[in-house]
Assembly symmetry: C2
Homo-oligomer: 207 residues x 2
């Protein structure tokens, strides 16, 4: 009787009933709104309008507004991590070019999804409390650390490797913020992002 209380046949997730997959739909709507109106220009009501459902619908999927937005950011960060891994494909192991490639992908995420990026890193983190989100962030950083270690000829994450990784992250992180704001970017004059990133990688991986 109660042995089959948690049957969740996956193969046909789209064969929903009313909406299909409202949870995903709301997350997508949330993402669009944040991209369109900025990190704070979001309301549950707006997301519902965009998703085409009533304002009460989200509460069947999320405890409250915070959980809804946290879910969206978490999804974004998981996507970010995957992008970072993919960026390494085909780049020779143990070369600074791999670090450069990671930096380029990091910047690209900030440029492609500035709303999500700033929501995650712009100082709202206090309220974004989710183990999966934390895990995605740490996982992403560990990708960088591994590449730095390889470049430095280390077999494990030494304090020196961690320090260099953190410095590289600081740089790419700041660059992402500056590039996401035209008013600030223009102060840098004319430059190629790739040049700056490879220059940086070489400097930070040298002795």
């Amino acid at each position: 009787m109660e042995n089959a209380k948690k049957a969740k046949p996956a193969g046909l997730m789209k064969s929903g009933y009313h909406h299909g997959d409202l949870r995903a739909g709301l997350i997508e709507a949330t993402r669009q709104l944040v991209e369109e109106k900025g990190p704070d220009g979001f309301s549950v009501s707006d997301a519902c309008r965009l998703a085409g459902v009533s304002t009460a619908a989200p509460y069947k999927h999320f405890k409250d507004k915070a959980e809804m937005i946290t879910a969206m950011v978490t999804e974004g960060m998981v996507r970010h991590r995957e992008n970072m891994l993919n960026a390494l494909e085909g780049v020779p192991v143990g070369t600074p070019a791999r670090v450069t490639a990671l930096g380029r992908q990091y910047v690209d995420f900030a440029l492609n999804e500035p709303g999500v990026f700033r929501l995650k890193f712009g100082g709202f983190t206090d309220r974004l409390d989710d183990p999966k989100l934390q895990e995605a962030g740490e996982g992403t950083f560990s990708i960088v650390l591994r590449e730095v270690a390889l470049c430095r000829g280390e077999t494990e994450i030494t304090p020196d490797v961690r320090r260099r990784g953190f410095m590289l992250w600081s740089f790419v992180h700041g660059l992402s913020f500056l590039l996401a704001d035209p008013k600030l970017t223009k102060l840098g004059g004319e430059f190629e992002i790739d040049d700056i990133l490879s220059d940086l990688s070489v400097r930070m991986l040298a002795d």
Copy 2:
């Protein structure tokens, strides 16, 4: 001419009427709220409560909420620029130590006033539209450029100087964001901010 009025003296330095200097009082209240509740945890009503005036009072001094918060951020950035200039005092001209000192002050501002810092740089800039604010920002960056030029033996802001300055800014900017968030800072392991900043200055000013 009933001069027997019991008007409170109060130094009269302000235009002494009801509040003294409500404009400044509201800006300070706004700042406190942003520091306490984060970049988006601010409302005109709250600021009024904190300043001890009615919710209609601000509209004698600011056109609307946006102008009020822009004024607060602008004031913060002017303060920031002054701090940067002061940080150079006593540091030998033409040495990387001067760049390091600027970076340290930049980071300190982010740590001391994280709310203002993130409000300015966290992606709300679209709405923060004020010539004085823009000027304060550009002025601050020009301080950095001047020091970089001196270190590089240049007499003017060449493209190379601008590029190095922008890279240094990126780094310090990103570091500030990471340091303002304990969850992110701890990924860097054990380190001294000053060590990282001086290490960075040397690397970025080298040929």
